[in-house]
């Protein structure tokens, strides 16, 4: 069984009309980190996930979810 972390950062950003740079400033991280997480190249730490969720005003579960791909 393979587990993949999916995220809805792009959707939540678009809903609030925020750029990656805006979100990075709000969350206190670099834009590269936001970009890496959003494109699925990086799995964030719990701390970073909480920072992003707080910056977007949603829970962590709203942004991140596990997709189970059996096979």
């Amino acid at each position: 069984m393979t587990e993949t972390l999916r995220n809805a950062i792009k959707v939540e950003r678009a809903r609030r009309d925020l750029t990656q740079a805006d979100l990075a400033v709000m969350a206190g991280v670099t834009r590269r980190s936001v970009n890496a997480i959003e494109t699925g190249r990086m799995v964030p730490s719990v701390l970073l996930a909480l920072k992003i969720a707080r910056a977007l005003g949603v829970t962590v579960e709203t942004i991140f979810r596990l997709d189970d791909a059996s096979g």
Binding site: K10, T19, Q20, A21, A24, G28, T30, R32, M42, L48
Partner: protein
């Protein structure tokens, strides 16, 4: 989505990447020169490096000039943007990956390097040790920098 801004941390990161490319080239040049001098102390590289000794202070002056030309910004370790970059999770993750890969590369390369210098060049033991040390340091640093630049790209 590719959002480009001129946030101070963006400028510093771009500058840092450019510096790392320069450092990589310098490491490779110094490593190659060191190995050439060790393997053949009387060779063409040794003669050229003696003639080019005057260039060292000029190179230091050029590097110092480049360091201070960052759009009138300095790499102040206490500034907010530098702290942001240094604590950046993506950067730390990439550095850790590059460090692990560089360590494995250096360990795996020991036998081929020893075989190359020991059998192909027939160096005396002291120079053989120097050649091994220089090539190991060069290989490790070059792998670390190159992989970090690859992992850290967008």
């Amino acid at each position: 989505m590719n959002d480009r801004t001129e946030h101070p941390s963006e400028i510093l990161q771009r500058f840092s990447r450019r510096n790392l490319y320069v450092v990589l080239v310098i490491v490779l040049l110094l490593g190659a020169t060191g190995i050439a001098l060790t393997v053949s102390p009387q060779g063409a590289v040794a003669r050229s490096s003696q003639r080019a000794a005057w260039f060292i202070p000029v190179a230091i002056a050029i590097i110092a000039g480049v360091q201070t030309s960052l759009a009138r910004r300095r790499w102040d370790p206490k500034s907010e943007e530098v702290q942001l970059i240094l604590n950046d999770e993506w950067r730390r993750t990439n550095m850790a990956r590059a460090s692990r890969a560089a360590l494995v590369t250096v360990l795996v390369a020991q036998t081929p390097l020893a075989w190359t210098f020991g059998f192909l060049t027939e160096l005396p033991p002291v120079r053989l040790a120097f050649a091994m040390a220089i090539s190991t340091i060069t290989l490790g640093l070059a792998t670390l920098l190159a992989l970090f630049l690859i992992f850290d790209r967008e």
